[in-house]
């Protein structure tokens, strides 16, 4: 079993095989962990599709499993894992973060307050928002 950390989610995946810098995940589990799904065009999320490189297809897709780590690196997105390869972060590329910021649409997020109630930034649409950070440290 592998824990996949993607954006704000944390998902336990059972249909995985981690070896070296490769992380194979069943397509269904990958979709529930990240929202990325296999389509005829490639690995897709929303309007974005990453095609499977024809000459290296076996390194990206095998039956019902995809090598998520390979796909992520191909997108320029960081992949890091613990020593035991039990916890994998499928990160988000600087290009994607930058393009989102340049759209000027404030990136949405959902975070808990101290009482455990989740708040989304987008709940405040229709108001002016001062999004301000602080810390105890």
């Amino acid at each position: 079993m592998v824990v996949v950390l993607y954006e704000q989610s944390q998902t336990n995946c059972a249909t995985t095989r981690a070896a070296g810098e490769d992380l194979w995940i069943g397509t269904r589990e990958l979709e529930s962990a990240t929202g990325w799904s296999m389509k005829p065009e490639g690995l897709c999320r929303g309007d974005i599709c990453v095609p499977v490189p024809v000459s290296q297809a076996a390194e990206y897709v095998a039956g019902d499993a995809v090598n998520a780590a390979r796909f992520w690196r191909r997108m320029g997105s960081p992949v890091v894992h613990d020593g035991a390869r039990e916890v994998w972060v499928l990160g988000t590329s600087a290009n994607h973060r930058g393009a989102t910021l340049q759209s000027l649409e404030a990136p949405d997020f959902a975070l808990p307050d101290l009482g455990g109630v989740t708040h989304k930034l987008s709940e405040h649409r229709g108001k002016k928002v001062l999004l301000a950070t602080w810390a105890s440290w």
Binding site: T92, L131, A132, S136
Partner: protein
């Protein structure tokens, strides 16, 4: 926090809200929130996801978002000054002139927020799209990777895997040395919970002429 509370209280009936995000763990943020009792949403961001999304590197930083969800002032230092660097490091006292500078910077920033709440796009402090875009600070590949290591480190810490967590915190900080959020979250804290020991001051001193809080482009600051 008292500053944000009075700003919120003054303008909450004018279509304005403060959304405060603690780049912190709940246990450390809790006492501060319980004392200040803010009435605006106070969220806890253990994984510094907001810093990742908005490419923030320190606290306090803030961004202004209009009614349509558009950024009209990109993330920037929210009214803090570098006056603290001159404080007496033993007594933690600042000279009156330094205190005055700190207060003036804060007041100027808060007054600018008020001006925007009242005037909207007509406020001289709210940017049109092209200017806002030009003022964005965008992440690079090393920063994106730093956030991935930080995420992993916080997860490992949650499982009490301290040594492994420390490795990934270190990696994150090396990849993204400008981030005080990453460094201070991972650093040793003193009895009052501050990462303000000799290592902190050594890191501040190593900045030399570079700022700790990057000064912002705002009339009066």
């Amino acid at each position: 926090m008292p500053v944000w509370q009075s700003l919120y209280a003054a303008h909450k009936d004018q279509g304005f809200v403060v959304v405060a995000v603690a780049m912190d763990i709940p246990e450390a943020a809790r006492p501060w929130i319980e004392i200040a009792k803010p009435t605006y949403p106070c969220l806890i961001d253990r994984n510094h996801h907001v810093a990742d999304l908005y490419n923030m590197v320190n606290v306090p930083q803030a961004t202004w978002i209009d009614e349509a969800g558009q950024i009209v002032r990109p993330p920037e230092n929210a009214g803090s000054s570098d006056a603290f660097r001159q404080m007496d490091r033993v007594t933690k006292q600042m000279a009156p002139g330094q205190v005055a500078e700190r207060e003036r910077t804060k007041k100027t920033y808060v007054a600018a927020v008020s001006d925007w709440v009242l005037k909207g796009p007509a406020s001289e402090f709210a940017y049109e799209a092209a200017s806002a875009r030009a003022r964005l600070s965008l992440p690079d590949a090393a920063i994106a990777e730093a956030h991935a290591h930080f995420r992993l480190a916080q997860h490992l810490l949650g499982g009490a895997r301290h040594d492994e967590a420390a490795e990934h915190f270190r990696e994150a900080s090396q990849l993204h040395p400008q981030s005080w959020c990453i460094w201070r979250q991972a650093a040793q804290k003193d009895a009052s919970g501050l990462a303000a020991g000799p290592e902190f001051w050594a890191r501040v001193d190593a900045l030399g002429d570079r700022p700790y809080h990057r000064p912002i482009d705002m009339k009066g600051i």
